[in-house]
Subunit: 259 residues, 2 copies
């Protein structure tokens, strides 16, 4: 398929690489900065552009992979006054498909449930992709496109997708923040972060076979008050982290009683 | 070596299995309940006992693998009035070695940095073990014992071990709680937890090659206010979780600015 990629960030980079590898033709790569557009176009093919008025009308799919907050500004500029036969899609978990209403003829969403960094290649085949479309044409085109990238394509309406995105924020962004706090605590005492990797890996592996509730361990789970108080005291010079420690411990205990 | 195991919970079970596999002789397994002691003794060998007065005096190492809060009660009962030639050790991250002072002759700590559940076998070879001893004899015996179990044995004093334990609570217990919240959100909308597994795995894998700070992604990192507000609103009926969501998002944003 002939594709226009709007964006050159973490997701756009990984998506562009996987699309090119799957044999799709990259027509154009747009970014606000020519440097970013050109860097990604160099990697995945196509012309680098910074003017949304220069986006061609002949592509099969236009993929928006920009920060959510930029969509309300970019979508009208991309769609206005120029009939496009192709399907216009965004990739945002929390933005409803209806953002395209009245602006495009065929539109939809393709939400890949993964964390993307520019420097880390990901295997798109394993990434669950959740699609949605406004008509049969959009849906069938998106199915075709996503099936060429991933082995796990499902249909999911916007109302449910926002809960999926919210759960991903806990399972990824907040999890990584916990890693970050652990790293801060260790480096303050000249201990290397690497010692935690077997623990981090096992914690992730456990929930492949146990529910998170059954996998829970630690002082908060046992409600070992003395340890909890002593650990909170160690965080005296990190008040926000101490506060998180106490709230997370209370919540774990509450769930343990409930469970 | 000839070993007495005090405890029959998650850690005692995994430790006992690995000790038996490494060729050590299990002399006795103690638990408050005969049922638990007998179940573990069946698995790892040795006699099941529930009376601390019946613990033999001829073992090389006495390993306490009980909840931290039970140590101040069990240690005096285990040690009192009976000269033991062997080394008495506990396995708790947050309890200082000095808890044995005046009660045992040779004592120490062996802290395996991992999350243990009864039903999940772990590969002890990969688990970092942090040891501490009160004299050369205790240290050399603990080194010998731990080297037979793990390829990653280091010496770490109690003062630093509590920070290591604290970091592990963030990297494991709090991480798992985030998985648990994600699971609750999904199940409230009839979505299966399994869809998150590739994301959970990649989040863990990323910090093998990137620092957690460099690996951070998501709406809080970008400080996408609209998404943050909309996601907090979705948690209206889970006030404690909503509160965590807002605090974690603010902290991520603070770190992003600082970083």
């Amino acid at each position: 398929m002939r594709i226009v990629l709007i964006g050159a960030g973490n997701l756009a980079t990984q998506l562009g690489l996987s699309l090119a590898e799957a044999g799709h033709e990259m027509a154009q790569v747009w970014s606000r900065s020519m440097e970013s557009a050109a860097a990604l176009a160099d990697l995945v093919g196509g012309a680098a552009v910074t003017d949304l008025g220069q986006i061609e009308t002949g592509a099969d799919v236009y993929i928006l992979a920009v920060r959510d907050a930029a969509l309300p500004e970019i979508i009208p500029l991309l769609c206005q006054g120029r009939e496009k036969g192709g399907v216009v899609v965004h990739t945002a978990g929390s933005v409803p498909m209806e953002i395209f209403e009245g602006l495009a003829r065929h539109y939809g969403v393709c939400y890949p449930l993964q964390t993307f960094s520019k420097s880390r290649r990901v295997n798109f085949k394993e990434i669950p992709c959740f699609i949605e479309g406004n008509d049969d044409y959009a849906i069938s085109e998106l199915k075709r496109l996503c099936a060429s990238l991933s082995d796990h394509v499902s249909y999911l309406a916007s109302a449910d997708r926002r809960y999926l995105h919210l759960s991903a924020v806990f399972a990824c962004n907040f999890v990584n923040h916990c890693y970050d706090i652990a790293s801060d605590i260790l480096s303050a005492h000249q201990l290397p972060f690497d010692v935690l990797l077997p623990l981090i890996d096992e914690t992730a592996r456990k929930v492949h076979t146990l529910t998170p509730q059954a996998a829970q361990t630690g002082p908060a789970m046992r409600y070992d008050k003395q340890v909890i108080q002593a650990q909170a005291a160690l965080l005296a010079d990190m008040p926000q982290v101490r506060d998180l420690y106490e709230r997370l411990s209370r919540n774990i205990h509450r769930n343990a009683i409930r469970g």
